[in-house]
């Protein structure tokens, strides 16, 4: 699609638009660059510049609490990604390839975790677990507590939707006639899925999984509501540190978290490139 000459703003308007665009990019990136630079500053005061040092990074790597919370984050992200990728892919298949009663209700239910504000979902999960544990404990005499498992269950609850939306987009653009052809050739339903559908949607499934991983590693609010003693994730721990006041170590750990975020983003962008190259070959 090329923009026609008269449709495009000319003269002053054109330069205003370009200048505005670069200002928006500056707004996005200058604060991040400032954080990056100051994370190497030798000063104990955040935002003051002194001779560069790697001291704050060393502090982060030697901090046991941070090590522990990273491990909790990784485990939550790993398990919630695997489970929600399977469930989300099944949801996408059910919505894109089948017609059944209750389909619209399911569709609506699947959208809600995407747009609900974090605080509201956090309240829902907390009240639900407290109430459910109350009932279960009183019947079976058990003693369930908030902790790793409640964090995991909550993360799966919002990640299914993120995976489903990505896989659905991929399914919608894939070719259903190939599946019909396989079926005509007496492939079993499982063979049909395994050999025809899955290879076609695989890039979408991987992109969905990466997205779920990113969202899970980012979450603060919902996790901080359903966490228990001994199972703090990294963002929840860092959030607690920020509340107590700024410190150069927070700068360093923030930079590391941004680097991980960006690595995941570039991973999924690369995947999308693979997808578009594939489809241009067709």
């Amino acid at each position: 699609m090329s923009v026609q000459s008269t449709a495009r703003p000319r003269g002053g308007a054109r330069w205003l638009l370009a200048g505005h665009a670069w200002l928006v990019y500056a707004f996005f990136y200058i604060p991040i660059i400032v954080l990056f630079v100051y994370s190497f500053s030798g000063s104990r005061l955040v935002g003051q510049w002194e001779a560069p040092t790697l001291e704050w990074y060393r502090e982060v790597f030697e901090n046991d609490n941070i090590q522990r919370s990273v491990w909790v984050s990784v485990r939550v992200a790993f398990f919630s990604t695997i489970i929600s990728t399977v469930l989300g892919t099944m949801s996408a298949l059910a919505l894109e390839r089948f017609r059944w009663r209750g389909r619209r209700v399911f569709d609506a239910l699947l959208y809600m975790p995407l747009i609900i504000p974090d605080v509201t979902m956090a309240v829902m999960m907390l009240v639900f677990f407290v109430q459910a544990f109350d009932i279960i404990d009183s019947i079976f005499g058990t003693q369930f507590l908030l902790g790793f498992n409640t964090i995991l269950l909550s993360h799966i609850a919002f990640n299914i939707s993120f995976v489903a939306i990505v896989v659905r987009a991929r399914l919608a653009s894939s070719d259903p006639t190939l599946e019909e052809a396989a079926a005509d050739l007496y492939a079993s339903r499982w063979q049909c899925f395994r050999r025809v559908t899955l290879p076609q949607i695989m890039p979408g499934v991987l992109a969905g999984a990466l997205l779920a991983l990113t969202v899970s590693l980012d979450d603060v609010v919902i996790t901080s509501f359903v966490t228990g003693p001994g199972s703090t994730t990294l963002p929840v721990y860092v959030f607690g540190l920020i509340k107590r006041g700024l410190s150069p170590a927070i700068n360093a750990v923030s930079v590391l978290m941004l680097v991980v975020s960006m690595a995941l983003i570039f991973g999924s962008l690369l995947l999308q490139r693979v997808i578009s190259r594939e489809s241009s070959l067709d």
């Binding site: 059944w100 209750g102 509201t120 009240v127 259903p176 339903r189 049909c192």
Partner: protein, 307 residues
């Protein structure tokens, strides 16, 4: 005929020979419907248990009673928690939340529209992709860290203050103010406005603008009568995607606003984790949910189909 895979192999050639076609089609459609339900069942059940039921419980709690020890009792149903919304304390929080969320939405729209327009009118596909990646990175970056970045920037005697002093504008001291929260909200949610706007503007057939200009429409008139109406679904989607999370914001106001400037989100967290007045917190959560549902309905009513 649906395109459900696996519909045909259910029928052996003999069966196909014996039965009439319409009855056959109805039967296979019924089978496909049952299979579709079975494929959805695990996630459907999961979301009912871990999303729908929690939602109902919060609704129930908002009408419950809190006893003096701070424990919620499911009896003596009342609407006290909702009545509190009209009292001065909570009303001022409501007004502040509403004003900040509206301002955030308006500022994001004003910043994003020309920006998305610029992105969408680049000729080269490579340039457009690069510009888009520049927005995708903040969109998917860790939200907590992006809020903290603003906190560092605005800290008293921090980088922004020093920069403004060095060019003779004097100290900037807006840490822990409504202005700081507003900057943080705009910084956090700007990509949520740009991306749907770009998606809408990129789809526009620019030949229409060309045609309008050929018919002697001024640049402004061509924009107002052609581009703006065609981009409206993107505007609506962007406004909802910014307004709803701003209205429920918690992290931004907690880090940038301090204790003096609470929003609804801070009020809720406080009710649940400190004051132990769960019905009050649940009632405010229900209000946020209602705002979200109204936003979604507006979106679908104005012709949007997918978010």
């Amino acid at each position: 005929m649906t395109t459900d895979f696996g519909v045909v192999p259910d029928l052996t050639p003999e069966q196909e020979h014996e039965s009439g076609a319409p009855a056959l089609e109805a039967a296979s459609e019924r089978r496909a419907a049952r299979r579709g339900f079975l494929v959805a069942l695990p996630s459907f059940a999961y979301l009912v248990i871990f999303f729908a039921i929690p939602l109902v419980i919060v609704l129930v709690y908002s009408f419950a009673t809190r006893n003096p020890r701070g424990i919620t009792e499911l009896r003596d149903w009342n609407v006290e928690a909702y009545r509190a919304l009209a009292e001065p304390l909570l009303r001022s929080v409501l007004v502040r939340t509403l004003v900040l969320a509206l301002l955030t939405t308006v500022i994001c729209l004003a910043l994003s529209y020309p920006f998305a327009y610029y992105m969408a009118t680049r000729d080269s596909e490579v340039v457009r992709t690069l510009l888009l990646i520049g927005v995708m990175i903040p969109f998917w970056s860790n939200f907590l860290v992006r809020t903290y970045v603003i906190r560092v920037l605005l800290s008293s005697s921090g980088p922004l203050s020093e920069a403004s002093q060095s060019i003779g504008l004097g100290e900037v001291d807006i840490a822990f103010s409504n202005a700081a929260v507003l900057i943080g909200l705009v910084y956090g949610f700007l990509p949520f406005m740009i991306l749907p706007l770009y998606a809408a503007l990129e789809r526009i057939d620019w030949n229409l603008v060309e045609a309008a200009r050929d018919l002697y429409a001024s640049g402004w008139k061509a924009f107002r009568r052609v581009v703006w109406p065609l981009s409206r679904p993107g505007v609506v989607a962007g406004c909802i995607l910014v307004f709803v999370p701003s209205f429920g914001a918690y992290v931004t106001s907690d880090i940038l606003g301090g204790a003096k400037n609470p929003l609804f989100g801070n009020y809720i967290v406080n009710q649940f984790l400190q004051a132990r007045d769960w019905p009050a917190g649940a009632a405010v959560s229900v209000v946020i949910l209602a705002v979200m549902l109204i936003g979604t309905l507006v979106y679908f009513r104005t012709g949007g189909r997918t978010l």
